[in-house]
């Protein structure tokens, strides 16, 4: 029941955005982490991940009118755009470098469960207590050293490491708690039919 009402809510959002692109922001907020998680996992380079994520949302916005509701989550559509964008980028890179692209790299497999888990983790970071959140964001998203963070926050390196430890602990506890709440079967049912 819960899943169905979520679907209905998402469907209304998509239809609203199709009529009025100004509403696209909500779809963006709901799906940003998923798209980014999927792309970052595959390209392994922050700059490229950002470029491709931007490209996916710009494409999605431009093609929103053509999107048809088929009962799949909107994220599945976005991830297919992402998958194609990654493949295109690899193809053009391979052409530039004169290397034939490997089939493995170009595979279109989308592991929805993995994407959901990573997206959830990224969203959980924003709910951390402020001190922990700042340390986690600076350390991982901004790739700063403990020393840089300590200087910026006016704390000792030891305190920053403690906050990093506590932040990761909090995230682990919340991931465990949320996976207990939702039976695995539900997220598995969502991943069906999104390949290709």
């Amino acid at each position: 029941m819960k899943d169905r009402s979520q679907d209905a809510g998402e469907r209304r959002l998509v239809e609203a955005a199709q009529k009025d692109p100004g509403r696209f922001g909500e779809l963006y907020e709901n799906n940003f982490e998923r798209v980014y998680a999927y792309i970052a996992r595959r390209v392994g380079n922050r700059e490229e991940a950002q470029d491709l994520t931007a490209e996916v949302f710009h494409q999605a916005l431009a093609n929103l009118a053509r999107y048809e509701w088929r009962g799949l989550p909107f994220a599945a559509w976005l991830l297919r755009i992402a998958s194609n964008a990654i493949a295109d980028s690899w193809k053009s890179k391979a052409r530039e470098q004169g290397n034939p692209s490997s089939d493995e790299l170009l595979s279109h497999h989308i592991d929805m469960e993995d994407v959901e888990q990573r997206a959830k983790l990224f969203r959980l970071v924003t709910t951390l207590p402020t001190d922990q959140r700042r340390v986690i964001e600076m350390r991982f998203a901004q790739e700063k050293s403990i020393r840089e963070i300590a200087t910026e926050l006016g704390r000792t390196g030891g305190a920053v490491k403690q906050l990093q430890f506590r932040g990761l602990e909090t995230l682990r506890a919340q991931l465990v708690a949320s996976s207990r709440k939702k039976p695995a079967a539900k997220s598995a049912s969502k991943s069906g039919g999104t390949n290709g």
């Binding site: 696209f24 963006y28 982490e33 996992r41 950002q50 710009h58 402020t130 998203a141 901004q142 602990e169």
Partner: protein
Amino acid sequence: MANQSLSEQLDKIVDALFARPNAASSRREPNVGASLRPLAKIAAQLRDLPGADFKARLKLDLERRTSMASKPVTAAEVRQTAVPYICVKDAAAAIDFYKNVFGATEVMRLVGPDKKIGHAEIRIGNSVMYLSDEFPDHGALSPQTLGGSPVRMSLSVDDVDAVAARAVAAGAKEVRPIEDQFYGERSGQFADPFGYVWNISTVKEELSGAEMQKRMDDIMKQGGFPTAPPAVKPIPEGFHTLTQYLAVKGAATLIDFFKEAFGAEEAFRVPRPGTPLIMHAQLRIGDSILELADATEEFGARAVANILHVDDVAAVYQRALKAGGTSLSAPHEQPYGDREAGVKDPAGNQWYLTEIRKTGHRTEDTRTILPHLSLVGAAEFVEFTKRAFGAEVAFMHDAPEGKVLHARIRIGDSILAVGEASDERAALPAALHMYVANVDAVYAAAVREGAKVLRPLRDEPYGDRAASLQDAFGNLWFPSTHVKDVQF
């Protein structure tokens, strides 16, 4: 302690994640002991954590596009119609502060060749704000330079106490403590390190305007709000950052000379008790203030030099000679277009009378009195003022052997003319009364940069917090902040 060693171990794992150049392998879980394995796995996944700035920037990009794509959506719905645009000294530091304290995200920044931020956009909550570095040449001045800002920023947050505590920890100063207000908010005011005051609030009760009015009327009936003491201006009315302070023998005679020759107006004079001498006097000449006193043991008589901007060099020159001055140079045209003359006042101070003929001078350049410093080691002096007072070079004319022939440097809202002393031009250091918003910081910086303390910083009975310093070039500095209005 066990926890500490765990956090150390974990950090080594995180370091290893970033150190591995091969992107694909760095996403694999590192080899670790069982207790840290779940955390190491999360850390490996967080290697891909998107930046909050990026997310906000992309959203704004998309919003900009949708505002163009769809007609029914007005600009007001997509882009904020009215945006505060603040000027700060060190915009990069300000952006960091707003990020850390208010959870701001950076949307964009434009950086000039001088590394200064010409324009930046940040988002706090659902609001966009613009900011830039200070550009005095373009009239963009920060509260730190102006001695405050009349603009209050208002920030709505979920937990005012937490945000305020973070602000104070990051260097903000409490202006008004957090209290429950009659209009349904819990709020307080905090001055950020860049001179802006933020009213930070959390709504506790949703009240209509009429309900607020009623509560206010009730308070008024009961005698009104307790009134706060009137705010004190850290830089008193009429003062600029720098004012030349003359210590002479015969101050009273000199005041008469300034009145007759330069049209000075006397604001006030304070006699030295029990003597005919003047302890302190303040004159106004044109748009500038000149301060003077009879010399004392502590503040001995010394000659200084000033450029005096006048409308008619010949007339002022004649009046000065008639009033008891002596000629340094008769009126003459300079190759750069100005008409100049030089006189020495009865106390020996030099005045370079200048009639500006060319246009395009900045306002600070044309203030009536512009202190002129002839120094041994002018180039080093300029570097000292940069470090100690945040001076900026407005103009620099180098002599061939690396000496400064003539420079103009800006400190706060004031300009100093500086040149290397020579055989023709004897060294004439200045004595400068310096009004700043935060004398403690200025004093600390000057002392750190080697200024000698003649009189340490203290609260003076006349309402200023002030000190006397001497730099290595012979100049006297009197950094001051006005902290209390005192009736004489």
